[in-house]
Symmetry: C2
Subunit: 298 residues, 2 copies
């Protein structure tokens, strides 16, 4: 586990440095817009998505560094979605990761534009990554189209809309899972797929990794929900019980704690099973990552 | 002039039909999100940007239809920028083109997400257009990167930020032109360049068309400002004198009417001069378009 922890930390540091370096070199951007974009982009976070993109590429025998621009682009998309979700018209949050949200520092108008700017910049960076990795035109344009599919109105934005519509009404387990699959699962899945696409993985391996990433995403979410009920505030970073207080639909609320834990184990097992026994994929690193990321309560 | 008018109308109709057709086939998008995205996308407008993309490609001997997906993508980017600009935190407008603005119909949260969705969809459509036109990987990725350059924090969003910062202070002519160049000029320029890139134009022709598009964009803006003072409300679609009423910095306010008219003629002449005498470019259509679009007061 220590080796895995070191790998995650080093890779996340590399992503952070690259984001810092790249964005500090942005020219011809108004100073306050650049500052607002960098404020949220460099506010921290676990950089799980870029780490998954890099680890997936390495698991398929590729050079992980080639996934770095793609991972940074995904982190920009993730960051823009957080900035817009925090706006008064959306979740109206004042703090994220212990820091004031973007609009609390720069105002609503600038926060909207900083989000728009990060989303637009992300696509240019995907194209730059494709150039640097010398991808074929099919693979390169396939990645752009997948970014639209997984981050757009069919993917992450779809999840955000469904989440808004589910507020203040009771929902089924299927509806809860559909929100998670779109709102967080799709971008995690794109992260894993982009590593596989850069590596030139076969269709079957791409499918296997897609299953892995969705099950992993769901497992994270169930784990989050369980920790909110039974966890340690110092570890989970928010007050225990805040989901129930906020009347959020959760796995424990719908299934109870024990059944939620069973479901978590099922997801983890599905994730593990899906990527084993494939000739072109060494699953070791991804299995270690999954285990490590899901053991946050220890 | 009648032939030019027919060309513009037919091409704009083609763009509108394509946007309608394509967006009606969007699947796996929540119904209200899809409705909000389509509401603004199909709300009308002159479709000048797609018409310029198509006409530029044709002027270079290419098949204009190949520019259609690119033109539609640019119209999605233009539409998203209008939705976000109209938000209460930005310009706080209730009407656009005689219809309620997006957030007045669907609420602020949905309007933000509809804009995000259109921007994200636009990049997938650029990739689709590159596939259909069978572009080389260099040209295809170059177009994606130019979209980021011209629509993002260095381009259109830059202009919006500068425009916000110029509110309630007196600005110089250089500052006024810089706002126009970024806020509206950059996306018009991208429209013309995308037609040229699909046609495989030489670097020199691309530069010439870039000069043409910037001068044309400035000419539009000066014309708009002049019409606001001396125009006919029935033609310009807003009350005469509304710029002065809104304390907007304009060419007539900074230069007076006569000098503004001189400047308009200089821009038109520069635009015309820039695209003549090139072996690979037949300037006829673009010159007709420029004349027609700038004769709106007649």
């Amino acid at each position: 586990m220590n080796e895995t922890k070191t790998y995650i930390q080093n890779t996340a540091d590399l992503v952070h440095q690259e984001l810092d370096h790249m964005s500090s070199n942005w020219t011809n951007i108004p100073a306050n817009l650049k500052e607002a974009m960098r404020y949220s982009l460099l506010a921290g976070g676990k950089r799980i998505r870029p780490v998954l993109a890099i680890a997936t590429l390495e698991s398929l025998g590729g050079d992980g560094k080639l996934a770095l621009p793609f991972g940074c682009a995904i982190e920009m998309i993730h960051t823009y979605s957080l900035i817009h979700d925090d706006l008064p018209a959306m979740d109206d949050d004042d703090y994220r990761r212990g820091k004031l949200t973007n609009h609390k520092v720069y105002g609503e108008a600038m926060a909207i534009l900083a989000g728009d700017g990060l989303l637009t910049e992300a696509f240019g960076l995907l194209a730059q990554g494709a150039e640097e990795a010398e991808l074929s035109v099919d693979v390169a344009l396939g990645i752009i189209r997948e970014a639209t599919r997984f981050a757009g109105a069919r993917g992450m934005i779809n999840g955000q809309v469904q989440d808004m519509e589910n507020e203040n009404r009771s929902i089924t387990l299927d509806e809860l899972e559909e929100v998670h699959r779109r709102k967080t699962g799709d971008l995690i899945t794109f992260s894993v797929r982009v590593g596989a696409l850069v590596a030139g993985a076969s269709k079957e391996t791409l499918d296997a990794l897609t299953t892995f990433s969705y099950q992993l995403g769901l497992a994270f979410q169930i784990q989050d929900d369980i920790l909110d009920v039974v966890g340690d505030q110092a570890i989970i970073g928010k007050p225990v019980g805040s989901d129930e207080h906020n009347k959020k639909a959760t796995y424990p609320a719908l299934l109870g704690i024990e059944e939620s834990k069973n479901r978590l184990q099922t997801c983890i097992q599905s994730a593990r099973d899906s990527i084993q026994g494939r000739a072109d994929l060494d699953p070791t690193r991804l299995l270690e990552l999954a285990d490590y990321l899901l053991l946050r309560d220890r």
